[in-house]
Structures are given as structure tokens and as C-alpha cells.
Symmetry: C2
Subunit: 309 residues, 2 copies
């Protein structure tokens, strides 16, 4: 993980048309930002340092974004609109069933300095069972942009957790979130490379046990930590076992979502590979879309829906 | 929770015989300490500030203990033995099946300054499925001190998690730990009074849902948090729902432990009441022993087994 703003690689004299921001990014552990030029091309991209504990607090990432844009030398930076996926508390969530994006995107509510040019994608709210997602809306919109007639389930892996969304006729019909990612972050040993989970025998073995007894999740987690403390397994292995316990239990609980439906998986890195391997072990091969690609595609649709200022 | 050493109420001129220390204390969120006089009576008790993140790191609590003992004015404090429950890394764990306490208690390994007078109760190690507990050993010994012929299951609620231990003929035969407490601590909103969980209708309702679908633990946790963020429930209610989701799933997974066996519950505070209420909803009324009583009774047995110096 990078400790500071990085990744600016701006083409000189490019005029920015808009800025894309993903505050729910699951793979890298910080907000991801892109500068998009008038031709719709990515002129710069980078990662902003994570603000606070995963969830993006209003204001927590603004200074980082400003510094990064200045570092990129983006022409017209103070005025270009910033479209944000995964922002909490900056727009009222929309009740489902509804399309993933509203007809018009409004400037952020809440009165922060950059509010007049910040356009957050609203979260999606499910009344019963109660559920609320933020980053998933732009991801689902990005998937539908290239598959408008898709009828099935989209699994979005984001910072903190995952969301299984049932999409039909262009609308999000229902969804189910799991805090697996946040539990993993709280329990896994720090400073260990995640490695190539799907090919780790520890992962494969623990996955089978977790799927067979998903109700024993908190016990599987305790067992992995105990084995580490007793010196029986390495920190890398305990990470693999914790991931397997969480993913295995999640797949068992989400079975009504993936069984007999088309499934698309939006994520990145070893974690997405681990979910894919676990699904394949159940005989399911999901379609895949890279997380950044999905977010950018979704925000590009949203870019065409800004309310004129 | 107290922010500093507290609770010294030493009787003047009392000569301390030994000091009891519980580093796995579940109810108060810090190490608990007692001074025991030559008549076996509690001459002082208090709580030491929590060192680090729940688990007691060697050395993390030593300064606090020393300051507290000085504050109590314990005569002979530098020399009295300190018997510690729940210490990690200071004694090699013992493999089960075995009695909860060894025949002889040895001084701490590891070379800390107080090592020569510190006698940790060793943890218990289960090879398969892998499991390792620290604080439970002294608690089980405390229960058996007043019920030596007990054959059944002892549920110990400690900081970070709970342990279900099957005890027969004075030996720990098997056990199963759950990280429910640590998951709860990581996810629950801070600064909210735990309240009287067993009588909270949110708890009762969520408990039924959790027991019916225990494999959906990470989804139940996500739903409770989403309802909080959507403004549907209070921080107190989300705490109750998180506790219910974790306890409900744990009871479903631990069913082979509590079904058809005598059950003793060692814990304290609203959490112990919540486990008891959940068990009663399953038709089980556990025997109860207060956490401090059990630890003190177990350490008193250990006190009689110190290796002479």
C-alpha cells in the first residue's frame, strides 16, 4: 500500500473534463482517482491515502484529492466536476427497486467547501431486510453500461464488505451485504502479503470446511488464530484460513443469490480471485469485470446526467 | 471503564500472602487484580488499565500492577507471588485432555523483571480442531473446586471471545472457542452503554433470526450496521442486534456442546445475562458462577501448587 499520494502521470496541456473518485475501493485500501479528458480518455490516475477507518468520512479525502490534482497539474482543476462512488453521507440514498443511477445527479449536500463541484452517486437503500450500499451503485451501473439487458446477480467486492445485488430489467431488485471484508481486516495479522489465495492449499482446505459448516464462522476464525498462536501455521496461512472461513460462510449464506442465476463478479486482486475460485468449486463460473473498469464506466454514465449548474 | 488504576481499599497492616491477576477479564475491559491475605481473604481489589488490544502482552500490564500494589500499600509487595490467569506467551500451553491446572505451577518463562515471582496458569492446547485458550483454565479450575465431580460443559466468557469446554472426571476433554467478543468489539459503535441486553426487544427479535439462519452471520451484522446508518435504529439497538447475531450463531454452532449436557456459565455483566437468556430460549438453564469468583477460586487452587523457590 502506498503511504502518500501517487500515480500522477498527466499529459501536459490536457484539459480535464471531469474527475472520477472511488471511495469504496476494495483492492488497494484507499480512494482511487482518475482524471478524464474531453475525449473521455483517462489522462491521469492515482490512489489517495485512506482517510480514517475504511469508510470515507466527508472531508476526510478532500485535501488528498486537491493535492493530487495539483500534483497532476490538471488544467481547470478547481472547476471540473468530481463524480464520487462510495461516498457516505453526502447524498440521500435511493430506495430500491430502482436503476443503479438517478436520472439527474445533484451536487453534494452537507456544505463542504468543494460541494458545488462534487457529485456523489447516491447509495441504495433496501427497507427489508435492512441494507444500505454506497460503492455498489456505480459498479452495477458500469456493468449494465456494457450489458443493459443483464438479468442476474452482480457481486461487488468493496472495502469493508461485499454486496450481492439482484438486477433485472435495468433495476436493482434486492441486495444482500456481508461484512466479511471488515471482519477480515479486524482479525487478520497485519503486514502479511495476501499472496495468491486461490492457489494456497490452506485456502482450499479451509474453504471446504467453512462451506460444510458455515454456522461455525466465529469458531473457524478462532481456530485459525489459535493455530497461529500455537505456532502450527504461518501468518500467511492464517490469512488464507480467515479468508476461506469468511468466503465459505458467505457463499453458503448467499446461495439463493448465485444458484441458477447469471453471476457477474466485480472486484480486483487476490480477493476477487479467491471468490472466483470458491464459486468455481460450487460449479459456478462468474463473468468478471475489473473493479476500476466498472467504477469508471458507471461514473461515465453519471457524468452525462449532471444537473446543469 | 476506568482510565487509571483504581479500587485499592487495603486494610492497614495487612500482610499480603499472594496476588491474583486476571488478564482475560471479559466484563470490565481491563486486567483485574486482587490482594489475598494470609487468611485467604481478599484484602484489596481493583482494575488495572487495559494494555494494548485486549490480549495481554507480556510486560504490558506489569507497570500498572506495580503502581496499583504500591497504591494499596501492600506489605511485602515485591516478594509476594503473583498468580496470573489469561497470560499469553509466559508459559507453554498444556495439551488436552488434562486437568485445568498442572500439578506444579512454574515461574514465568521469558525473562521479564517480575518473572521470578510471576506464576502464569498455562493455557490449554487442543490439537484437532486447533484451539488454544488462556483465561479459561483458571475459570474451569475455579468451577471444579466447588464441584469436583462435575461432568458437563463449562462456558467461559472472556475478553475477545468465549470457550465451550467439555469437562469429565476432572479433565478438560475438548473445547471450542468463538471469536464472537472480538468481532463484536471491532464492529459495535463505540461509547454506547451495553444496557440490559436480555430484556431489549431488539435483542430478542434479532436472536431468533440469528438462530434460525446462523450461516448468515456476516449478513446479519451488515444489516444491523446498515439500519443504523439509514437512521432506522439507535446505536443502542445496533449493539443489541450485533450481540444477538453473534450469540445466536454461536449457540447454533455450539449445539453439540450444550445439548443434553449439564452446563455451567462463567461470566459477568449484561453479556453473561444475554448468553443465559439465549440459552433459556433453547430450554437450557445454565448454572451460573461469577467470573471473578471463578478466577479467584481457580487461582487459589494454583496458589497451593507453587514450586518452592
Amino acid at each position: 500500500m502506498k503511504s502518500d499520494v501517487d500515480g500522477g502521470r498527466m499529459v501536459a496541456n490536457t484539459v480535464a473534463d471531469w474527475v472520477a473518485l472511488d471511495l469504496a475501493e476494495g483492492a488497494g485500501g484507499g480512494a482511487r482517482a482518475w482524471v478524464i479528458d474531453a475525449q473521455g480518455q483517462v489522462a491521469a490516475e492515482g490512489r489517495l491515502p485512506r482517510a480514517g477507518n475504511g469508510a470515507a468520512a466527508p472531508g476526510g479525502w478532500e485535501a488528498g484529492l486537491r493535492a493530487w490534482l495539483e500534483g497532476c497539474g490538471v488544467a481547470g482543476a478547481p472547476d471540473v466536476p468530481v463524480l464520487a462512488a462510495g461516498a457516505h453521507g453526502l447524498a440521500a440514498p435511493r430506495g430500491i427497486p430502482c436503476p443503479p443511477l438517478p436520472e439527474r445527479l445533484l451536487p453534494a449536500s452537507g456544505g463542504q467547501a468543494d460541494g458545488k463541484r462534487l457529485f456523489p452517486v447516491p447509495g441504495l437503500l433496501q427497507a427489508s431486510p435492512p441494507d444500505l450500499v454506497h460503492g455498489a451503485a456505480a459498479r452495477i451501473a458500469g456493468w449494465l453500461a456494457q450489458a443493459p439487458a443483464f438479468d442476474g446477480v452482480i457481486l461487488c467486492l468493496q472495502a469493508g464488505g461485499s454486496t450481492w445485488a439482484h438486477v433485472s430489467a435495468g433495476e436493482v431488485v434486492s441486495f444482500q451485504s456481508f461484512l466479511s471484508g471488515e471482519i477480515f481486516a479486524a482479525l487478520a495479522p497485519a503486514g502479511v502479503d495476501q499472496g495468491n489465495l486461490p492457489e494456497d492449499p490452506e485456502f482450499t482446505e479451509a474453504l471446504a470446511g467453512a462451506q460444510a459448516r458455515p454456522e461455525r464462522l466465529a469458531a473457524h476464525l478462532a481456530g485459525a488464530r489459535a493455530a497461529l498462536e500455537a505456532g502450527q501455521i504461518s501468518p500467511e496461512a492464517v490469512r488464507a484460513r480467515l479468508a476461506a472461513a469468511l468466503i465459505g460462510a458467505e457463499l453458503a449464506a448467499a446461495r439463493p443469490y448465485w444458484l441458477g442465476r447469471d453471476l457477474a463478479l466485480i472486484g480486483a486482486g487476490p480477493l476477487a480471485g479467491a471468490y472466483e475460485a470458491a464459486l468455481k468449486a460450487q460449479g459456478i463460473t462468474p463473468a468478471r469485470m475489473e473493479e476500476g473498469t466498472a467504477v469508471l464506466a458507471g461514473l461515465a454514465v453519471a457524468r452525462g446526467r449532471l444537473r446543469p449548474r
